[in-house]
Symmetry: C2
């Protein structure tokens, strides 16, 4: 006989105190309302444990009583992993575990609890002259636990890696309430299986991350940033390869932007000036770091080489912080500018880097066949093969009709192209509840079975974020 | 009723053909004789499958018949993971799966089968103007499958990462003979649990790796190498931090070497000339990469800064390939030079980087208390916190007596110091059969239980490298 919401809330209040439990649905808005506005189930309760020990007690109780728990950070996730699927789960907010436990710039590590807001992690590192190089649009709200559970990326994956690569160790509460203590500042440690990389990116289904040891890096003294004119995604790829050859890991960012993005942003007054050198069908935003004690000019020198090879036709290098800020605004406003042009259908996909031009051309052609006049707006992390392959409705179309007619059909068409090119249907955002069916369709069945076996082994009662990611529960 | 060796060999011959089975113990030497000369059990048979499908058939049969399988690459492992523990296992050599399946320098990936010799992987990348930056002393024999199964490191982990970090995806035969097809050239792919990082470093206990997609990098145009005089490990640590601050990931290597190593090597004629600038109690071998199109002098400039801060007293920068070769020989001959000075006791340990000076001073003091006159010879990857903390016998002592009296006692003393400093008792070499008991003693019990649960889930009959690493079998 499953417990009622009232029984659940009451039991939790006994464990962590009534002030750490939200039982009134009317007060749960901040925890239930997710960014996509797609998922609307309620929760049995929300609990905000003030400590790791309190969280362990909650999980032990939930495991004994077969109550589903949904770990939540900043509620910024885009696939509904952090909000209810069934309506009977308890949301566990990690927000009160918000301490920076330690920073050691010499060792290049910072230990932060799961509830630390990403932007605060940045500030803590900068206060010590270092940086935690993972930047997301949502960093003012996203918290470390969620960033790691979704293996978030960002524009600097090219130089510094994604969340998994930036995490050295984690501490996590397991399904039975025991604490896995893997906070590890060791770069070399071959004493058993890699549990850290299993827990990171598991979307809260194998353990609730409570703290992590993160890599921090020396602050560059400066950045060199340019907006470069390229004729096509193929040309952009050639430029990327030359940049990588010459600059190696000083290459901080390589972002592809289509001209339509500039149109949209200028038309709607989103830029104080045109950041580009001159009109071009495509642009590449390129950035290089410069460390203290090294000479400036590496980017300029590399651009001259691309110009000599006729890979680019024009370029502008940022000469001031205002220039650099404007160039990055041009890139960061790409999603927002689409919303000013009606409805849009989005895809978070990746392909092998060399297949990015094919993804864009074949995907755009397929979309045009499906919906004549549809406006492709592909942009993003070309150096990672991760393109935000978005489509704006035809100009003048009815937004609701467009979405209801084409949303699913276009997803199918684009995912077909992606899979044919050996790509991923979820490059950054994860599976959550949005893509559980899709995962079952497209993922290698042997891999799915391994994952189910691991889930069953580590969470036999299926209480950790039930139904998310694998869309499967052990019991 | 377990099968006899004859029955096993016969069954295998039926599956893969008699020419792929070695059943005569007298002909198994190459597979049984491991580098440490510590493990002497025989095998029921050795099988050399010519293809992935043949290997799958072998594993299916072994799983149905409860026969233990030991995957083996180049037989260079140092903890006995690749040789029998019980004497009834079948060694499965991956040597015949030795193709480079593909190289794509634009995408920065190379797919190599498990039997590819590491040195051949280097050559294949170099033929395309790229490099696979994982260098081991054993690279002329070590094979990719073993390199990955042990998560091997090397001197360039500082700049490029260890085997796990250099692997993008793997293909592996699972315990039931099914093929996990995770060869993945995608940098960003959030579609499920990270199975790749679970299989890498699992020492063949969760799956038999048959191929891997490896990261390759643009070849640097040049290296800048220096041998620097430092007063102490503490001073070396300060130098390391300054180097890292200025050079970031262009810092290719930072190796600590004690003066006693120079003594040993010069005394035994192992160097054609003294590679150092002048006498010093400690040396740091520092190397920086220079990419095409960038200015030389970054190392010199950084060294000048260390000199101004009085962190170093003298230095010599390599001016020729001969200089560079001699400096690296000085480092690479450290293990060998000890063997010319009698018996030595070795430890493959790591601590947080900032604790390296404490490891060396406390470990040396403890060793001296245990065995007066013992000669500490600590050297290695300071930038990773991984010191090969070796001890040469007192001059003139009887080698056999020294080893029998102090081998275990010194391990205990040094591991105590390592664990107290938050370190690892196996930084690089893994657990195999050498350190199974030690792992059970020192590892977090919750972590061990998670590992056993995962092992049971993925290999319920316990046929994959039984008894290795966890020293535990499911059935």
């Amino acid at each position: 006989m499953p417990l009622s919401s009232a029984e659940i809330a009451s039991a939790l209040a006994t464990i962590v105190g009534a002030d750490a439990v939200v039982s009134d649905t009317a007060k749960m808005g901040a925890y239930l309302n997710e960014p996509r506005k797609r998922f609307h189930k309620t929760a049995a309760a929300v609990v905000t444990p003030p400590s790791v020990e309190a969280l362990q007690a909650v999980v032990r109780w939930a495991n004994e009583n077969h109550v589903g728990l949904i770990p939540q950070g900043g509620n910024t996730g885009l696939v509904g992993a952090q909000v209810p699927l069934f309506g009977t789960e308890v949301i566990v907010s990690l927000a009160r575990l918000d301490r920076i436990r330690s920073i050691d710039t010499a060792a290049g590590v910072m230990t932060a609890e799961a509830g630390v807001i990403l932007e605060n992690a940045h500030r803590a590192a900068e206060a010590e002259g270092a940086m935690f190089p993972l930047w997301l649009a949502s960093q003012g709200s996203a918290r470390i636990g969620g960033v790691l559970s979704s293996n978030a990326g960002g524009v600097n994956v090219l130089a510094y890696g994604n969340a998994r690569e930036l995490t050295m160790g984690v501490e996590a509460v397991l399904a039975d309430g025991r604490l896995y203590q893997g906070l590890n500042a060791l770069k070399k440690d071959n004493t058993g299986y890699d549990l850290k990389d299993l827990l990171v990116g598991a979307e809260g289904t194998l353990g609730i991350i409570t703290a992590a040891t993160l890599k921090i890096f020396p602050l560059p003294e400066d950045h060199e940033t340019a907006l470069v004119n390229v004729a096509s995604p193929e040309a952009a790829l050639d430029v990327f390869q030359l940049m990588r050859q010459r600059l190696s890991s000083r290459l901080n960012a390589f972002e592809l932007i289509p001209h339509i993005g500039l149109d949209f942003q200028l038309r709607h007054g989103m830029l104080d000036a045109d950041p580009t050198a001159s009109p071009s069908p495509w642009y590449a935003l390129i950035e290089v770091t410069r460390m203290a004690g090294t000479e400036p000019g590496a980017l300029q020198s590399a651009l001259e080489a691309t110009f000599e090879k006729s890979l680019i036709s024009d370029a502008v290098i940022a000469e001031s912080l205002a220039d650099r800020t404007r160039m990055w605004a041009f890139r960061e406003q790409m999603s927002e500018c689409q919303s000013k042009e009606g409805a849009s259908i989005k895809h978070d996909v990746s392909v092998p880097i060399a297949a990015v031009p094919a993804l864009i051309s074949e995907g755009s052609a397929a979309a045009e066949r499906l919906s004549p006049g549809i406006r492709p707006v592909p942009f993003g992390h070309m150096g990672d093969g991760n393109i935000h392959f978005n489509f704006s409705q035809p100009a003048g179309a009815d937004p609701k009709a467009f979405m209801s007619q084409y949303d699913e059909a276009l997803h199918e068409v684009i995912y077909d192209v992606v899979l044919k090119l050996g790509g991923s249907v979820s490059a950054e955002h994860g599976i959550g509840q949005l893509k559980t069916d899709l995962l079952k369709q497209v993922k290698d069945p042997v891999a799915l079975e391994m994952m189910r076996a691991i889930k069953t082994a580590l969470d036999p009662n299926g209480i950790l974020n039930p139904g998310k990611m694998l869309g499967f529960e052990p019991s």
